[in-house]
């Protein structure tokens, strides 16, 4: 008897009890569905982060105030560390004599502010930065001009809009350039609209507005000051000459800042220099923890599903005792009956797995549609895992009922009422 024959018999037997079969599969469907959905979303998140980092350029270092390890959730750029990064730190890092492996360093001052034009007011992330920001971030102006050194020197009230912001603040026919908008009530002249980018850490650059960092420090966020009263920076971006000089550049920056912050030999840094690999590591460990948790949920659900399959298969063996007796009477051997019921359990579980997979992908799509940058990623790994796991569940939980069926005595089975 071929395996195809066994599959046909199994499908017939299962379709004779459709509702029962589907209810039995439910455990597997939910287990596999959950794993697939979260795996696909997790993959999507990882891919999004990777893409965004890559779009920023792979030889970028980010210098943050404070030690990353004691960063608080929700802290980020808004907190005020004891020893923040200052304009002086930036200038030192930007000095090619002090950090020969850097091409450029860019200061960033980030904060939220009310941005309004006409009747529209939006609460947006305002980034104060300098003239080389577009080169370092691989981000270009769509229309108009970027911040110039003169704007920085003069703390000019000029603003550049992310593409989305321009769309939201201005009516379709309304041309934003040279118009005046207000940030926290202060009038700013729009000098450029950026290209569409999609990206920029958490939330898209398209939702940002950009001003000269000196303007941000003096006019918008004057409260961002170090204990000594100097204007502070949220972070400094540094572009390294090439990817293979990342370590050297990191060392140069670290030494420089330790000197500037008077950190002695044994004391810890009060800043962090991180690169893409670090960020990916952090994400990797977050996703790792998530996967572990998920794996536990999935394992429990598959266990429950497997027990459900075993239960129904035992019922099925009992119900079909006469059929088993008859099959044996006309020449079925033990292994024929064993295969028949094992294949039936496997088909049950595998169908559950496939339905779960489909459901999982739909769920992932639904989750991903909540954020426009996020896309669920269907990997071959996920498909193989789901197929493999559900087959194994069918095998493991089907073996006992199948063995029981195969060991029935033909006459006893035929006499069963």
């Amino acid at each position: 008897m071929s395996i195809i024959e066994s599959f046909r018999i199994a499908l017939r037997a299962l379709s004779a009890n459709k509702l029962r079969s589907i209810l039995t599969m439910l455990g597997i469907i939910i287990g596999v569905g959950a794993v697939i959905a979260l795996m696909s979303v997790g993959q999507g998140v990882q891919q999004m982060v990777t893409e965004q980092l890559q779009s920023a350029g792979s030889n970028l270092l980010i210098i943050l105030p404070g030690k990353l390890s004691d960063a608080q959730p929700g802290g980020g750029t808004q907190r005020r560390p004891a020893n923040p990064l200052t304009n002086g730190d930036w200038r030192a890092i930007n000095d090619p004599l002090l950090t020969p492996d850097l091409i450029a360093a860019v200061p960033e001052v980030d904060g939220y502010a009310d941005v309004s034009h006409g009747k529209t007011t939006l609460r947006l992330n305002v980034t104060g930065t300098n003239d080389v920001f577009p080169n370092v971030r691989n981000y270009a102006v769509q229309e108009g001009r970027w911040i110039s050194p003169e704007d920085i020197a003069g703390q000019a009230r000029v603003v550049i809009l992310g593409s989305k912001v321009a769309e939201e603040l201005f009516a379709p026919g309304d041309f934003p350039l040279d118009q005046t908008i207000r940030i926290n009530g202060i009038p700013f002249r729009v000098i450029a609209v950026m290209e569409e980018k999609g990206g920029g850490g958490f939330g898209s650059f398209d939702n940002y507005v950009f001003v000269p960092f000196t303007t941000a420090q003096q006019r918008l966020f004057p409260y961002l000051r170090s204990p000594r009263g100097e204007p502070t920076l949220s972070l400094i971006l540094a572009k390294v000459v090439s990817e293979d000089r990342l370590d050297e550049a990191t060392a140069q920056i670290e030494n420089l800042l330790r000197q500037r912050h008077n950190i002695t030999f044994l004391n810890e840094d009060d800043f962090s220099v991180i690169n893409q690999a670090d960020i990916l590591d952090i994400f990797g460990s977050i996703i790792g923890v998530m996967n572990l948790f998920l794996g536990g949920v999935a394992a429990i659900s598959l266990l429950v599903g497997g027990i459900g399959i075993m239960n129904i298969m035992l019922v099925s063996v009992t119900e079909r005792t006469r059929e088993i007796g008859l099959r044996k009477a006309v020449g079925a051997k033990r292994r024929h009956i064993l295969t028949q019921f094992l294949v039936e359990a496997m088909v049950l579980s595998l169908l559950g797995g496939i339905l779960g997979m489909i459901l999982g992908f739909i769920g992932a799509q639904a989750i991903a549609s909540l954020s426009e940058d996020l896309q669920s990623v269907v990997t071959l790994d996920a498909i193989l895992l789901a197929t493999g796991v559900s087959t194994v569940v069918g095998l493991v939980f089907g073996i006992f009922p199948a063995l029981r069926a195969s060991q029935l005595h033909p006459i006893d089975a035929l006499r069963y009422e």
């Binding site: 008897m1 004779a16 059929e323 008859l326 009477a329 006309v330 020449g331 079925a332 033909p410 006459i411």
Partner: protein, 293 residues
């Protein structure tokens, strides 16, 4: 026909069932030989061990003691899989209650032994077997769409399909009216005469038993008598479908509706009052009653 070499040879076969504390001795030393080409009826009161004997002959069960040689092979020492193979290749079994798979077409039911034999052109063979029992036009019917007689013919087709040497039938007409019963007998006689298949069947009805040349009577798990019939009754073909008549066409001539034949030996008076085809409700109770008598 080799009458010297026995197809079935059992010697001192016993079968003891353990029912909790009680031992039921269903067979108490049965010995007999059946030669190729024979058509044999087994009779006896309920509980006399007919089914037990048939199950052992059919390799569905093994004796507690004694020897069973089938075509020279010792069936006693065989393992489960080997017995399954014997059931599949050498023996076709027909049950009183038909035992067809429900919600499964006649064709698929007949194909079942071929599935386990790993045969190739199963469909053709199954159709041929169904045509042989006159059901060529019912192959896609499910059992619940067939009459009792038709269901039993499907079961016979299933028993036939692997071209076995022997067909064993345990009260094949027990659940049928007399007309359908006669059809079954007709098929058995044809198969026996034309295909040279050895057939052993159990019946309660003397008229049915008289379709054979040999009647074995059992009582209390022992052979009471083994007698031959001089002029076996020929099953009438009126009840047969025209289709089946065409296929199973054979010149029989004279005694189609011939007079009832006489058994050579006198029939034991007790058995004539045997309650017929109805399975006794409590076999054990009756057994006890008989033993007490």
């Amino acid at each position: 026909m080799d009458q010297n070499h026995a197809l079935i040879e059992i010697k001192d076969v016993t079968k003891v069932y353990q029912m909790g504390e009680v031992e039921v001795r269903a067979l108490r030393g049965v010995s007999l030989e059946v030669h190729p080409g024979e058509l044999v009826a087994i009779m006896g009161p309920s509980g006399s061990g007919k089914s037990t004997l048939m199950n052992i002959l059919g390799a569905l069960d093994v004796p507690t003691s004694g020897r069973y040689l089938l075509d020279g092979q010792d069936v006693g020492g065989m393992d489960d899989d080997h017995l399954a193979e014997i059931r599949n290749r050498k023996i076709g079994f027909v049950f009183q209650s038909f035992n067809l798979l429900p919600r499964t077409s006649a064709l698929a039911n007949v194909e079942l032994p071929l599935v386990y034999a790993g045969a190739k052109n199963r469909r053709e063979q199954a159709i041929a077997a169904l045509e042989l029992v006159g059901l060529g036009d019912r192959i896609h019917h499910n059992p619940n769409e067939l009459s009792g007689g038709q269901q039993q013919r499907v079961a016979i087709a299933r028993a036939l399909v692997n071209e076995p040497n022997i067909i064993l039938a345990d009260e094949p007409t027990g659940n049928l009216d007399s007309k359908s019963g006669a059809e079954i007998m007709r098929i058995f006689q044809d198969l026996n005469a034309q295909q040279d298949i050895t057939i052993i069947f159990v019946t309660h009805e003397p008229e049915i038993a008289e379709h054979t040349r040999r009647i074995i009577r059992l009582q209390d798990g022992q052979v009471l008598s083994d007698s031959s019939v001089k002029n076996p009754r020929q099953a009438g073909d009126r009840a047969y479908t025209r289709r089946a008549r065409d296929i199973a066409h054979h010149e029989n001539g004279a005694d189609n509706n011939g007079a009832p034949s006489l058994a050579e030996e006198k029939i034991h008076p007790d058995e004539q009052s045997d309650p017929g085809s109805v399975e006794t409700q409590s076999i054990v109770t009756q057994m006890g009653a008989e033993e007490g008598a």
